[in-house]
Symmetry: C2
Subunit: 361 residues, 2 copies
């Protein structure tokens, strides 16, 4: 831990779901709690990563109250005081604003780093260097810093950031963000990739906590007032009051509420083997699968098989004569899918959920 | 039930295993106990079929003592007196000889029908007619009658019977068997199919019980003497003595011990949609799967999928973008296989069993 980051804090966003990761990811056991990248959960990995950047005792976790037990089991060393349990889902802006309020109360110079907990990086060192540079930059002025991932394919599932043609030296090559763009179509994504002027938005934000609060006052005062009220109730240990105040906030993302409107956003490009693990295809690639190599986990016997992703749960899986197939076992169900059919999976799971809701209604 | 079959008995062979039906068929829960053809087990279906031919109270079951509890659960209406529990596996000749001895003791004119319990037929009426004709023919003389299935493909997994170029009229077109041939290679099987003079041997035998005993005396006296001794111990309710006597028999099939040597074997051709359900491919075909149609059983959601066999167990299976794939879930394990790769499955399961034995040894 370098001296410059001594007063930085991390907020880990432990919400998140993902119908494209059925049957492992479900509403009661969502993506951050899955061991998709290796032996530990994504949340556990994110927590270790956060500690390696800002040191112990400086990490807050925001999550859904419905997952409180899961959270405590996954991070048993954490005191209750660092858990921010949301009674209802309100997207990212209120959760991040609340953390900024709590952090600023303790240290008005504090820099806050916001990390989603459902991502993985292959090169931890490169990632830490980028975060250090981002913290440095954020501390220096009235601005926001993001982490920008150089695209490796014309991905249509991510938001992009367009960066200025040239930037000043220093801060690990940080560049100014000209504009945020939502998930593009394939043609646009291919153009972005070819231009070299677009980076993937990893949803990682770094800023001085008080600066965010100022900007929220300007761009989303309704979110800020809910957040201020919730923070006051939290200080008073008034859980019911906290819940009521928090729920009063509109549901809005920080991207939409602040980032796309505020004048000064910078990004630190980071080529660190980042993945959002947003689909089984992404898991396959992150874990080293390719046209000839399969990714196998657990008791799997594979015969005459290549380029498959096979994740066993408790009982053995025998895979014979397959190419390009995803097999994922779990207590909830079993998926057998052609690789790359993640959109069809998402639609199918959403249809089932709608049908189940219709039955309940 | 016609008058002519009043003194016929059926022996159901409830042994059998099948590594090509992993993970459903295992040593502790073998093929006759599986519901492969429909909602009931193959054994239950075979029992109902037997009762429809010879009437109730005339069916014996031979099986392994290790499966006694399974048998009683599957056929709870049967008294212990009709169960012949083999202490060790000795192939079919001793089991069939023993049943012939027990049946002949009760009725020396009795005709015995031997039915494997791991087969299915689509046209039950055609099958019953063929059996009635076979019983009729067997009662009339010193001969054996088999059921011959007209081949529909150049199958290399079955034994064949070559039939005489022409037969006399009557007995449902029964023809004399010139010779039994073991599982042929593909070229030979294709020649058999084209010739029109070869039928599949379904392993179904019909004969007067006393005639079998005579023939065993001539061709396999060592089997007969073990059988006679075992029958005597059984009559005396001496289980340990029965086990010892039975185990004394050589392990040999009735085909090899008698059928391939005895002079008079006839066959009743029976085009009844017979299947041995000997592989997942056979199950797929028997249950109506084809190039466009899938066979799905249990809670299966299939999207953009065709020509698959998907058998769920208790939890839901989601199948997306697949063609020509076998998915079978069971408490023992999970199979995901390209259709038609049954030989690779057999080899893989046998390798695992050998490895497990090596660890135990």
């Amino acid at each position: 831990m370098s001296k410059t980051v001594a007063s930085a804090r991390v907020l880990i966003l432990a919400g998140g779901s993902g119908t494209r990761l059925w049957p492992r990811s479900t509403d009661s056991h969502p993506k951050p709690f899955l061991s998709l990248a290796g032996p530990h959960s994504l949340l556990r990995d994110t927590f270790e990563r956060a500690v390696s950047v800002v040191g112990p005792g400086r990490v807050l976790i925001s999550g859904r109250r419905a997952h409180a037990d899961l959270l405590r089991r996954e991070l048993p060393e954490l005191p209750e005081s660092v858990l921010i349990m949301e009674p209802v889902r309100r997207n990212t802006a209120p959760a991040i604003g609340l953390a900024a309020r709590l952090v600023a109360d303790e240290d008005e110079d504090a820099v806050l780093v916001v990390l989603p907990s459902d991502q993985a990086v292959r090169d931890e060192r490169a990632f830490r260097s980028a975060l250090d540079a981002a913290i440095d930059l954020a501390r220096a002025g009235d601005l926001f810093v993001t982490i920008g991932i150089p695209p490796t394919r014309p991905e249509t599932g991510f938001g992009y950031m367009e960066i200025a043609p040239a930037g000043p030296e220093g801060h690990a090559g940080a560049r100014r963000v000209v504009t945020f763009v939502e998930k593009p179509d394939l043609e646009t994504a291919a153009r972005y990739l070819a231009s070299g002027r677009f980076l993937w938005n990893a949803g990682i934000f770094v800023f001085r906590a008080v600066y965010l609060l100022e900007q929220m006052r300007a761009f989303c005062p309704d979110v800020l007032s809910a957040v201020e009220a919730a923070a006051a109730r939290r200080r008073a240990n008034d859980v019911a009051g906290f819940d009521e105040s928090f729920a009063f906030s509109p549901a809005v993302s920080l991207d939409y509420a602040v980032m796309e409107r505020t004048p000064e956003v910078w990004t630190v490009p980071c080529d660190c083997g980042w993945s959002d693990l947003g689909s089984w295809e992404a898991v396959f690639e992150f874990r080293g699968g390719d046209v000839s190599k399969s990714v196998l986990s657990g008791p799997v016997h594979a015969v005459e098989a290549r380029s498959n992703l096979v994740l066993a749960h408790d009982k053995p899986i025998r895979v014979i004569g397959l190419e390009g197939i995803v097999v994922v076992d779990s207590p909830e169900g079993l998926l057998v899918m052609k690789r790359g059919a993640s959109d069809a999976l998402r639609k199918s799971v959403e249809e089932t959920l709608r049908a189940e809701e219709a039955i309940r209604a």
